[in-house]
Amino acid sequence: MPTRIAYEGKVEYLQILDEHGVLDEKLAKDTLSDEDVVELYRYMVKCRFVDETAFKLQRAKRMGTYPQNKGQEAAAIGSGFAAKRGVDWLVPCYRENAALWMHGQPMHQVFMYWMGDERGSKIPEGVCTLPLCVPIGTQMLHATGMAWAFKMRKEPRVAITYFGDGATSEGDFHEAMNFASAFQVPCVFFCQNNQWAISVPREQQMNSATVAQKALAYDMPCIQVDGNDLFAVYKASRDAIERARSGGGPAFIEAVTYRLADHTTADDARRYRDSEEVDAWMGKDPLIRLRKYLTGKGLWDDAKQAAADEAGRQTASDVVKAAEGAGVPPVTDMFDYTFETMTPEMETQRRTMRTHSLGQRPEQAGLRESAK
């Protein structure tokens, strides 16, 4: 046959709860119960408070650079809720606090992390989350490898990995997708397409109509969802996770959302994006639409909101207290965790805190005051 179609692929879009808080009842069937939604909304409120608190801490110079999660709560929480705590592994980038928290990583540790303290990335026993990941696009390979181990050992676990729209430009993303598909491992790739990678808009980052279509390269099931719609995110995530768990291989989810804040506290987004754009997306805020929906359904009212706000404020203050209470780690920590067993050279460095090795004590060298 001289000409024929060798391949056809497509990307579907899913929205269940629209910007006005109107639910598509049919699509919402078998997704979240009323109790779930109320609980998750409370959770989102709490996360928003904590996020704002981190921002303020940074401005008060009590925290280093911090990337706000604001506006992306539905994406993190909808997907995080679909994963089994203590069973499935979350492999995050850095804008998924809400999901990590839900899976047991204490939020004060996340604060400690941004305060420049490795102890913030110490994962408690039983918690199945990896540390935040700074080098963009690299962690998806770890998720793929973990998922591969689950498959090898026939464990009913799934890895779900988070990354941004910009991350899909990195080669490692591509290699992870290819491995995951070639070996059909239980890994869910969750792209938080928040429209920006620092100052570069998605349309400039790639010449592609959607991010999700990148999965077609690997014949990997994919979907684009309204990332500010808790229902759509949950449904797509649950379907992908449960399919992966039952041997159906990897999947790709593009959550279309928006970074309502600056890239990080070191950034000033007004330099490169219009306030109209931000304002328009403010209207699609996942919290607002969920509150509208809940109120409409009689599940929520101002008193409940006030209580939720108060709980959020209280939690945030507890988190700050715990994080700041941790103080500075012992300086020897930097040596103690490099290998399981320290090398002789490192022992010397640890003992003397010096890298020169004349073997003399500072006092011997005639220093005016002795070094500690």
Binding site: W114, E118, E170, S199, Q204, Y272, T338, M346, Q349, T355
Partner: protein, 332 residues
């Protein structure tokens, strides 16, 4: 960009100096293009390329996708095709994904093709610790690139040197890695010539003359060493050399000084083991063996991952540690 009132009065920061060099060279040579993540509209995360896109347009000051190997690899292609690309890698930690293109291609094309294909490109990279940044924003991988034949590695420590060396780098017919010590990006201001000037790549600078001990350093640590000089006892006369370029290395300058002083201390931020300090110590003992009165001392980062910022001050060599090493060297 043209100088502001503040610059005219108070002098230029290192960032200003680099910006001025880019601006002047882009004006002079239309083959020069700047590319990288956020270098355009946003002017770079450190504002080093601030304003350039407005002047030269988005075709010459280019916001690229988030893709370091892509930036490095396409810059190689641009250079081979006759442009003079100046890619920026946003932080030294993100040279990782671009390592292969830099080391296995940029460094080798001329030799591999017996001179018929060349890669005149200057890779700008904010470098080093001390600014309370997150992980992989504070490393010092210079030894790796100095160990790569075919690359030049330039590390200015002052605004004056930054401008002159960057202009040399861009005009250099071979690939140059230009590490910018971010700790001193804005910490010092200096009055420097407004017109374009070059400083030869491969020439060290004697920052302070002395007769008792030679201190060799580069990048932000030069300032740490300078601070240490102030704390040394009055009767200690230390010579401080700022290498400015570690590849090619100005070994003569070091040897000349050590043959005078008989003592040498090397100071750098990178982990000690197999750091570039080892090369210097080795050269000194190879070439000035009979002049040496004490072992060459290294003051460096520890052999651990650069710690997160709560502990970076304990990791980075400070004036106290330099002072200690100098005194030990003298007391030997």
């Amino acid at each position: 960009m043209p100088r502001t009132e503040a610059m005219i009065k108070q002098g230029l920061t290192l960032v200003d100096a680099i910006n001025e060099a880019l601006y002047q060279e882009m004006e002079r040579d239309t083959r020069v293009v700047c590319l990288g993540e956020d270098v355009g509209l946003n002017g770079g995360v450190f504002r080093v390329t601030e304003g350039l896109q407005k002047v030269f347009g988005p075709e010459r000051v280019i916001d690229t996708p988030l893709s370091e190997s892509g930036i490095m690899g396409t810059s190689i292609g641009l250079a081979m095709a006759g442009m003079r690309p100046v890619p920026e890698i946003q932080f030294e930690g993100f040279l990782g994904p671009a390592f292969d293109q830099l080391v296995n291609h940029a460094a080798r094309y001329r030799n591999r093709s017996r001179g018929s294909i060349t890669v005149p490109m200057t890779v700008r990279v904010p470098w080093g610790g001390g600014i309370h940044a997150p992980e992989l924003h504070s490393d010092s991988p210079e030894a790796i690139y100095a160990h790569t034949p075919g690359l030049k590695v330039v590390i200015p420590s002052t605004p004056y040197d930054a401008k002159g060396l960057l202009l040399s780098a861009i005009r250099d017919p071979d690939p140059v890695v230009f590490f910018e010590p971010k700790r001193v990006y804005r910490s010092h201001r200096e009055q420097i010539p407004e017109e374009a000037y070059t400083i030869p790549i491969g020439e060290a600078k004697v920052v302070a003359e002395g007769t008792d001990v030679t201190i060799v350093s580069w990048g932000a640590c030069v300032h740490t060493c300078n601070e240490a000089l102030d704390h040394l006892p009055e009767d200690v006369s230390a010579e401080l050399i700022d290498l400015r370029t570690i590849s090619p290395l100005d070994a003569e300058a070091i040897v000349r000084s050590v043959e005078k002083t008989g003592r040498c201390v090397v100071v750098h931020e990178a982990p000690k083991t197999a750091g570039f300090g080892a090369e210097i110590a080795t050269i000194v003992q190879e070439r000035s063996f009979l002049h040496l009165k004490a072992p060459v001392q290294r003051v460096a980062g520890f052999d651990v991952m650069m710690p997160y910022y709560k502990l970076e001050g304990q990791y980075l060599p400070d004036a106290k540690r330099v002072e200690e090493a100098v005194m030990q060297c003298l007391a030997y």
